[in-house]
């Protein structure tokens, strides 16, 4: 005999797709928020006017009344959006908002961002094919800023740098407010804002100002592959003592990578320093829950990301082989490889797809599926690092918040429910799983590298085993170990 309300159960939970429940209207916006909304609208409007050739007083006043106004009003909006809420995890409605999901709006935004990247990267080629000079006015808008920071005219790359940095700073404000109860997130966010603004934008501009070889000081080979390709190195060597300093810096970062990763895990770079990571963690935060979680996605991930690593190593070797033998080893094929890598990986993968698809595939597409730097850091983290995420005994209730919000698509819950440490090559240590866990189960920590998992004290064996039996260390649904039963 059972309760008849239950046996009258007349829907299929797999089909209903619960979706957004009905709701009553929100309280009307405060005056301050209306003001910031007006500011955003006005900034956008003036921006459009400017694009269509209206002179807004020229120079700085045009810049302030468009991008300046837009930025201030956006920062204010983000600030006010969270100011009146209690500090804590604010994920209500995340899966109900069209813009944060694979809706028409989400897809449109994704296509718009990808489109921007295509126009930006292939501007000259596209113009040769008849594209109007759509970037001309936006580039000119930034002339006064370029004059000030680079000592010259603005260019499309200057435009890109400004927009990129603005995105990190403005959405950084959003992150700072959203996670203001969590000091790890606050400090980390300030860090990515700092490195983007200072190391990736301000200092490189100074280099241009003083006509030195270009370099972003937080960029590491092989992510910034050309820094240590023959062309890049020649550029540094041809620039006197300062050039040598830059070269030493570039090599120094490559050397520092395994050391810092040993002490702090991959996160020191991916979630604290890197520009791509910085964009993902700030501008990309609204979409982290879109990362694919299936075993299939994990298989694609490990083949792709390590494939790109091999590709960049091959290209680097080929270029140096040619360079040192005057082209006798690989001939023109090395050049073709270089072009190929720059086009498919550098432009299409990391930009057009990597950022453009944020709204539909999550914010770490490039970092997870493509970045060779992440692959190297990941291998180190996996076998030779003190970093792990500790799970708090039996407190996990398998709710799934951690897995849902893990931007790398790691099934954190599977480990937590089993009371196992999470030691995964792909984990960028963003700390969001720990922040969203409603039961306080997860803690990112550095400890002894040998006690992280069974067999961790023999890193080489662990490495070999993870090649032979990737499923042991890789993706797992809860109790993956049983799959081998």
């Amino acid at each position: 005999m059972i309760d008849e309300t239950l046996s009258n159960y007349d829907f299929d939970e797999e089909d209903v797709g619960f979706g957004a429940p009905p709701m009553l209207p929100d309280a009307p916006l405060s005056w301050a928020r209306r003001l910031s909304a007006i500011g955003i609208a006005a900034g956008l409007f003036l921006l459009v006017l400017f694009f269509f050739g209206i002179d807004l007083g020229g120079g700085w006043s045009a810049l302030f009344s468009t991008l300046g106004l837009l930025s201030l009003a956006t920062a204010l909006w983000f600030y006010l959006d969270f100011k009146d809420t209690e500090p804590g995890i604010k994920h209500d409605r995340t899966f109900f908002r069209a813009i944060q999901n694979r809706s028409l709006l989400g897809w449109s935004l994704g296509i718009a961002i990808s489109g921007f990247y295509i126009v930006l990267y292939f501007y000259d080629e596209l113009q040769a094919k008849g594209l109007p000079a759509v970037l001309e006015r936006p580039i000119r808008l930034l002339d006064p800023l370029a004059e000030l920071t680079q000592g010259g005219e603005s260019s499309r790359w200057f435009l890109y740098g400004v927009l990129y940095t603005l995105a990190i700073v403005l959405f950084g404000v959003r992150m700072l407010m959203k996670y203001r109860h969590n000091r790890y997130q606050r400090i980390r966010t300030v860090s990515v804002m700092f490195f983007q603004f200072g190391f990736a934008w301000f200092l490189p501009n100074l280099l241009i100002y003083f006509k030195r070889p270009y370099m972003e000081f937080n960029g590491v080979w092989p992510l910034k592959h050309d820094y240590l390709w023959p062309g890049g190195v020649d550029g540094f060597l041809g620039a006197g003592n300062f050039g040598i300093f830059l070269l030493v810096w570039a090599i120094g970062l490559v050397v520092a990578t395994p050391i810092l990763t040993y002490f702090y895990g991959k996160r020191w770079y991916c979630s604290w320093v890197c520009g791509c990571g910085g964009l993902a963690e700030t501008f990309g935060d609204p979409w982290r829950q879109q990362s694919a979680k299936s075993t299939g996605a994990w298989h694609i991930e490990r083949w792709l990301v390590h494939g790109v690593l091999i590709a960049v190593l091959v290209v680097t070797l080929a270029l140096w082989g040619n360079h040192l033998t005057d082209g006798r080893v690989f001939g023109s094929s090395a050049y073709t490889l270089k072009q190929w890598y720059g086009f498919y990986i550098g432009a299409i993968f990391s930009g057009v797809v990597g950022v453009g698809f944020y709204p539909v595939l999550g914010n770490r597409i490039w970092c997870r599926f493509g970045c060779p730097q992440a692959a190297i850091l990941g291998l180190w983290q996996r076998v030779f690092s003190r970093f792990r995420i500790t799970t708090n005994g039996g407190q996990c209730i398998s709710c799934g918040n951690c897995s849902t919000y893990c931007e790398m698509g790691i099934d954190v819950r599977a480990y937590a429910q089993n009371g196992e440490n999470i030691v995964r090559a792909s984990c960028v240590g963003c700390g969001v799983c720990s922040a969203v866990c409603p039961r306080g189960v997860l803690k990112l920590e550095n400890g002894s590298f040998a006690d992280r998992f069974e067999g961790a004290d023999e890193p080489l064996r662990a490495l070999r085993e993870s090649f032979e039996k990737p499923e042991i260390y890789g993706y797992r649904a809860w109790s993956e170990r049983n799959r081998q039963a």
């Binding site: 046996s7 797999e14 619960f18 908002r97 209730i397």
Partner: protein, 423 residues
């Protein structure tokens, strides 16, 4: 050998996985009337609030079950025939079993309030309730929640997130004060009110009032107050779900009676999780545990026992955790349990929602409560097992800290305040 498991909650699923590990060639059927796949019941609220989708609440990929050769059956069992070893199913042919696990969980208490069967009155236990909540929310501006426990506050938070005006009726003098000491409970009262949820303490439900169409329109409280509402959430605790066994020969009391290996009175039938009542001749009360981790522990144990390995259930040191709106709570050991000779130390941050309680006797520490702070399970458990003296615990507080990196450390403040209290 065919093992049938009724219930695909954490208990049934853990047992199924365990049996598969030990018995690769047995046939295993996992039956549930509620859902085809196992999902996390505590995550129901997040679906309604938009933190997750239903599919995100499933701990296993759908393909897992076929890989494990665990057959899933979405059906209601209506009767257990222990003589013939058969399960009768609603609208389906009966299913024969060799060994049976009953893991039917619990169900919301209903105390026979007038009007409890009206439209718009419901509990929060499963997907069916979630679905009903969606339907009722469409015509709800005000809701009343009855019963000040963990599920009540979750339901309040859910409805509040859709801007529904929520009134929370709590019979006790303070929220959940049968479990929480006065101070912790008081902190939660504060945050409930700060969130804009109407909290009525020491208020009982007298009657739910309906209109002509049998929809609820208001509740009347014991104080004679009438609060209009279109939705009433009844969340006054849960009891073992043993409806299924009412006419069977399997012995029940409040739950399905089982011995320490989780065997029922019928041959080849076991019960575990929320629905089980473990006989404890040595103690004055039988043991009913209705939380996630005990379901998991009992599921592991009963899986082993069904697969042929004799073991006895050891509940270990009690622990639990919850989140009240934005306030996290953890507990280890015995707090508010009237342990003979117990003394309490309590620290609260002067202006943040952070607190620590340490309960100890002359023999050593027996329990801790944490509000807004995270402590390490293993460390707290060891302290309690080893009966560490309270001074020793205060000395070693930092070892228990499980807050995320860079969080402000409060150990020095806690230590000095609590040492003063001891003196």
């Amino acid at each position: 050998m065919h093992v049938a498991i009724i219930g695909n909650g954490v208990t049934g699923v853990t047992a199924a996985v365990r049996i598969r590990q030990r018995r690769p060639d047995w046939r295993i059927t996992l039956i549930s009337g509620e859902s085809r796949y196992h999902y996390s019941r505590p995550a129901l609220m997040y679906v309604f609030m938009g933190h997750m989708r239903y599919e995100d609440t499933k701990p296993f990929e759908d393909s897992y079950w076929a890989e494990q050769r665990i057959d899933l059956l979405r059906a209601w069992v209506t009767e257990i025939d222990t003589e013939q070893k058969r399960l009768h199913l609603l609208d389906r042919d009966p299913l024969a079993y060799d060994r049976l696990l009953i893991a039917t969980g619990s169900k919301p208490n209903r105390f026979g309030w007038p009007g409890q069967d009206l439209e718009g009155v419901q509990g929060l236990w499963g997907l069916y309730d979630l679905k009903r909540l969606y339907d009722t929310a469409a015509r709800t501006e005000q809701a009343v929640i009855v019963g000040g426990g963990l599920i009540g506050i979750e339901l309040a938070e859910m409805l509040h997130s859709r801007n529904i005006d929520v009134t929370f009726l709590v019979r006790e003098r303070s929220y959940w004060d049968n479990i929480l000491p006065k101070e912790e409970s008081g902190m939660i009262n504060e945050i409930i009110r700060a969130a804009g949820i109407g909290l009525r303490l020491e208020t009982e439900l007298k009657e739910i009032v309906s209109d002509d169409s049998r929809r609820c329109v208001a509740v009347e409280t014991g104080n004679g107050e009438r609060i209009s509402c279109q939705l009433v959430g009844l969340t006054a605790g849960v009891s073992p779900n043993i409806d299924l066994l009412r006419e069977s020969s399997i012995e029940t009391k409040r739950g399905v009676l089982v011995d320490s290996s989780l065997r029922t009175s019928a041959a080849d039938v076991w019960a575990a999780g929320d629905c089980a009542e473990i006989l404890r001749p040595e103690a004055d009360r039988n043991l009913i545990q209705q939380v996630w981790y005990t379901g998991k522990l009992q599921g592991e144990l009963v899986g082993d026992v069904i697969a042929g390995e004799e073991r006895a259930y050891d509940p270990g040191i009690w622990f639990n955790s919850a989140k009240f709106l934005d306030l996290e709570y953890q507990t280890y050991g015995q707090v508010n349990m009237d342990v003979p000779g117990e003394k309490n130390l309590f620290w609260r941050h002067p202006d943040q929602q952070l607190a620590v309680r340490i309960v100890y006797t002359d023999d050593g520490v027996v329990g801790v409560n944490l509000m807004g702070l995270r402590w390490r399970h293993e460390v707290c458990e060891r302290w309690i097992l080893d009966k560490r003296p309270v001074h020793w615990v205060l000395e070693h507080l930092a070892e228990a800290n499980f807050d995320p990196e860079f969080f402000r450390r409060h150990e020095p403040a806690i230590q000095s305040a609590l040492r003063e209290q001891i003196a």
